[in-house]
Amino acid sequence: MGYFNPWSVVVGLVIPFVAVVGGVAVLGRSEAVVLGMPIVYFWVFLWFVLTTVCLAASWYLFDRGDFEDEEAFEEQREEEGEV
């Protein structure tokens, strides 16, 4: 599928899936506590932020170039709308 940049898929999809699914499988039964909470919760909370970091990396490093002219067109339209 030529549509997706493979690096973008690794960073934005594979890494979050492996981290969250794998993390739950490994840490779900653990009795360890981090910051007062069971470690499995800590891990999932951590990935709320890290998933956005991954997606932002996919966008700025790999995908944004494909949408440049669409974004430029939108900005133009917005400016015209304000006039």
């Binding site: 599928m1 030529g2 549509y3 997706f4 898929v9 934005g12 999809l13 979050p16 899936f17 969250v20 699914v21 739950v24 499988a25 779900g28 039964r29 653990s30 009795e31 506590v33 910051l35 007062g36 909470m37 069971p38 499995v40 919760y41 999932v44 909370f45 990935w47 709320f48 932020v49 998933t51 956005t52 991954c54 997606l55 932002a56 996919s58 966008w59 995908d63 494909d66 949408f67 440049e68 002219d69 669409e70 974004e71 939108e74």
Partner: protein, 479 residues
């Protein structure tokens, strides 16, 4: 005082619904259902967040943890989180498909791509199947929220009032009303949850005490105990993360471009930062309010203990608003699917009358189910996903797989839905594997096999193979 705050929030939302229609021709069906594909990132974000973080989140998640422990909490958080990476990659393509076929509903996309009446109607019926537990979810939450205010209203009155308000939202402004109300509701919801969570932690004397006291009462509450609970959590996370894209097609269509849709998904996980606070409230309820008759009431059991009345009104108001909002959007979806995909040949007048009758019947039936068969809210979420995710092979056919034929996808859908019904109602033991996932495998298998022997595949290229109409991309691809 709680009642005054609650009533003020509901009134404010009705005003916002009315204002939403200003200067727009809402009688035009495209404007009514997808706001003329005009929403920028901010409105799209709020509408999406408004639809995703429904009352199922606010009331259902604490109830699930209260009744079933960490396994339920984790699958709920995990699937929503992973739905965003999936959406980041697939949602822009869904938007492109919507634009290519001028679609207002997902069955519209299938009609445009395959030109098969049979497939269109089967997909529309699948939508209706998922919409029933999804509305039950909202009604259950609304009952619990109103009950917490201590009006002593009967569940029947509560659901009737709820249905009426939801109807009022959309009658004036179509989808613009939920988008406007979403902003109010998302801010209230976030604030209310943070307040309850902080109050829980300070009342217990620290985060570790909240989990510690819960664990003393129920040792398995903070770990995923047992192989089946773990298998269920993992398979449900993966299954629903992919199902999410089929469930959210209505709001994807409201975006104004592929880039807008894609960018919106990048920031969506950040709204989830309210969940740690909600989890604290849930675990606080386990030790502070043990032996609740109705686990769905866990959040409000904690709130009543922790908050002054006016804040309780705020929490209940935010919860009710999110439930009403979804009911409004669901009614829109039903009306849209019915008028465009089931009975497209009626005149406008009979169309409108039929839609009103069906939406009314739908609200009454789901309200009645809620009263007759109270169900743990997270189980209703699972049930809805069993059905709606069965549309995935159809979506893949439109976006990527040229080999899938209309007949193959229709057969797969029927087989998938039948498997769901069979496994769900016979309560077959699947060793913890999510039964929707099993049904989806059956669905894909049937789709592939039937597609191999039937020849009516689409003559159109899959959506992902087509380029957005842009000069630079064309130049690059020829080099």
């Amino acid at each position: 005082m709680a009642t005054v705050v609650f009533a003020a929030i509901i009134l404010l939302s009705l005003v916002l619904a009315l204002l939403a229609a200003r200067g727009r021709d809402v009688l035009r069906i495209e404007e009514y259902l997808v706001a003329g594909r005009s929403f920028g990132g901010v409105l799209l974000f709020f509408l999406a967040v408004g639809e995703i973080y429904s009352i199922g989140t606010m009331v259902g998640l604490p109830g699930g943890i209260y009744a079933e422990g960490a396994g339920y909490g984790i699958w709920f958080l995990g699937y929503i989180l992973l739905a965003y990476p999936v959406g980041y990659f697939l949602a822009p393509l869904v938007w492109r498909a919507g634009e290519r076929y001028g679609a207002l509903t997902f069955p519209d996309v299938l009609k445009g791509h395959y030109g098969s009446r049979l497939l269109e109607v089967t997909a529309a019926l699948t939508f209706f199947a998922y919409l029933i537990p999804w509305a039950q979810l909202q009604f259950t939450g609304l009952q619990v929220a109103l009950g917490a205010l201590g009006f002593g209203v009967s569940p029947t009155t509560a659901t009737a009032v709820a249905a009426t308000i939801a109807f009022a939202y959309i009658i004036f402004s179509g989808v613009r009303a939920p988008a406007n109300i979403s902003i109010l509701k998302d801010i209230l919801l976030f604030g209310a949850i943070v307040i309850v969570g902080v109050a829980a932690a300070s009342a217990a004397g620290g985060i570790s005490n909240v989990f510690g006291s819960a664990e003393q009462l129920n040792p398995s509450s903070s770990r995923i105990e047992g192989g089946q609970a773990m298998t269920f959590a993992l398979t449900t996370i993966v299954f629903q993360a992919f199902g999410f894209i089929t469930l959210t097609t209505p709001f994807i269509f409201t975006g104004r471009s592929e880039a807008t849709v894609k960018r919106t998904y990048i920031v969506m996980p950040l709204y989830m930062l309210m969940y740690p606070f909600l989890i604290l409230a849930a675990y606080y309820a386990i030790s502070a309010a043990p032996n609740l008759e109705q686990p769905n009431a866990a959040l409000f059991a904690a709130s009543v203990e922790l908050l002054p009345p006016w804040l309780l009104g705020l929490v209940a108001g935010a919860a009710a608003l999110s439930g009403l909002l979804i009911l409004a959007v669901l009614s829109l979806t039903i009306g849209g699917v019915l008028s465009r995909n089931i009975t497209p040949n009626l005149t406008d007048t009979s169309q409108r009358r039929l839609t009103q009758v069906v939406v009314t019947v739908y609200l009454i039936v789901t309200a009645a189910l809620t009263i007759l068969a109270p169900t743990l809210m997270l189980d209703l979420i699972s049930l809805a996903y069993f059905f709606v995710t069965q549309l995935l092979p159809a979506l893949f056919g439109v976006l990527f797989v040229r080999r899938f034929s209309a007949l193959g996808i229709t057969a797969g859908l029927v087989a998938g839905n039948a498997t769901v019904l069979l496994l769900h109602f016979s309560q077959t033991n699947t060793a913890g594997i999510n039964i929707g996932l099993i049904a989806l495998l059956v669905n894909f298998l049937v789709t592939i096999v039937v597609s191999a022997v039937s020849k009516n595949r689409s003559s159109l290229a899959p959506v992902a193979a087509s380029r957005r109409p842009r000069t630079r991309q064309v130049e690059r691809s020829t080099t």
